[in-house]
């Protein structure tokens, strides 16, 4: 039996159980505002997720790093960095960067969209697997910041006036925002909604 069915609700901050109310009330133990479910969970998730998906286009098309040395200026996109590592004899690093910068963000946005659609339309997916997927995207989301940190370090490290300078490209900002937005979208999604849907109450 769920807490909601028992006429109870839990504080999302400290876990304290109290009687179910529709409006927000202050938790008697920690003082936090308590509601039975996260407010406007689905619409917030959708808004953040769609913004992230739109920003993901410039994040991949614009350069994340601009290297200028005496002779040449080169612009690297995310996929360009992967190709560079692959050809320069570090396939392991190429695979790592491919996973955290391309695979993880795309999978994360897909999974979140599937979970939100499942709640919205009552898709008959296995609920336990949905929760597992939710834990996975919660855990891996932050690792996508890797490329942003690499660019920041390169910019800070390589400052040789007249010889070589590395600058951050606009793609890096877009990509950083994609990671932040998908993290916020995951946070605003309430996984308890997966179990609430009345259509699958027996399943």
């Amino acid at each position: 039996m769920s807490a909601a069915e028992a006429g109870l609700m839990a504080c999302g901050h400290c876990g304290q159980i109290m009687e179910h109310r529709d409006g927000p009330i202050a938790c008697p133990r920690c003082g936090g505002s308590v509601r039975p479910r996260k407010p406007a969970s689905l619409s917030r998730t959708w808004a953040l997720l769609l913004t992230a998906i739109i920003l993901y286009v410039p994040a991949n098309l614009l350069p994340i790093m601009e290297t200028s040395s005496l002779l040449v200026t080169s612009r690297d996109t995310i996929i360009g960095g992967v190709v560079y590592f692959w050809h320069s004899g570090s396939p392991g690093l190429a695979a790592l960067i491919f996973s955290v910068s391309i695979l993880v963000p795309v999978l994360k946005m897909c999974i979140l969209a599937i979970l939100a659609l499942t709640v919205q339309f009552g898709w008959p997916l296995d609920r336990r697997q949905c929760i597992t997927l939710f834990h996975v995207i919660e855990f891996v989301g932050r690792w996508s910041m890797l490329d942003v940190f690499v660019v920041a370090l390169m910019v800070g490290l390589v400052r040789f006036k007249g010889l070589a300078v590395i600058e951050a490209g606009p793609g890096a900002i877009a990509f950083g925002l994609v990671v932040a937005l998908t993290m916020l979208a995951t946070h605003s999604f309430d996984p308890r909604l997966i179990w609430d849907s009345p259509r699958r109450a027996l399943g």
Binding site: L96, F149, F160, I173, M183, W195
Partner: protein
């Protein structure tokens, strides 16, 4: 109603289990972790937090690496890298890096220090609840371990074009990553259910 607890992921109602140190309880309905109790006592975590604050200071004060290209020397501290981003007009990115690698981890350590120092005493101050909620909200945004991986990737990337000498901060960051991992595995949430005297 203190004998009950609800799964934060599926809302299933359970009788609150009595856990020994190092044990965790799983939700019978969705399989998520329902409650956990850390292997270490809050006092031990407090010691780790104090150590991490000192290592954090070292990690930010010294250069991460020294770089040499054809007689020219370069090197940067973490704040130097943030300043370089800022000065070239990438303020949003500078703020993102500064927040995730400096501000949030330091806030996390500071808050944990305050929480752990007061948790063992009878009667908790009025700010205990709000501070605990604050730590839980901002915790996902501290990314010291991701940054550490970023350092490794950058070094490999630069190793082809320059001579690299590891700086003092590199070791400190490695140590900080380990300490943070241990501290972050202690969810402040469990302070609510920690018996006050044992």
């Amino acid at each position: 109603m203190n004998h009950l607890c609800a799964c934060p992921h599926c809302d299933a109602l359970h009788r609150r289990p009595a856990l020994r140190r190092g044990e965790k309880a799983l939700c019978v309905r969705c399989g998520s972790v329902l409650v956990r109790r850390h292997r270490l006592a809050p006092d031990h975590i407090l010691a780790l937090v104090v150590a991490a604050v000192m290592v954090f200071a070292i990690a930010n004060a010294f250069p991460i690496v020294d770089l040499r290209i054809q007689g020219l020397r370069g090197g940067t501290t973490l704040s130097g890298a943030v300043a370089a981003l800022w000065s070239e007009g990438r303020q949003p990115m500078a703020m993102l890096v500064c927040a995730t690698t400096q501000v949030f981890p330091l806030l996390d350590l500071g808050c944990m220090l305050a929480l752990l120092l007061t948790a063992s005493r009878p009667g908790r101050p009025a700010w205990f609840g709000p501070l605990l909620r604050f730590v839980q909200e901002m915790r996902p945004w501290g990314m010291v371990e991701v940054f550490m991986l970023g350092v490794v990737v950058s070094l490999v990337k630069l190793s082809g074009m320059a001579t690299i000498l590891p700086g003092k901060a590199l070791l400190a960051f490695a140590l900080l990553t380990v300490l943070m991992a241990a501290i972050l595995s202690f969810h402040p949430h469990q302070l609510w259910n920690e018996p006050e005297h044992e």
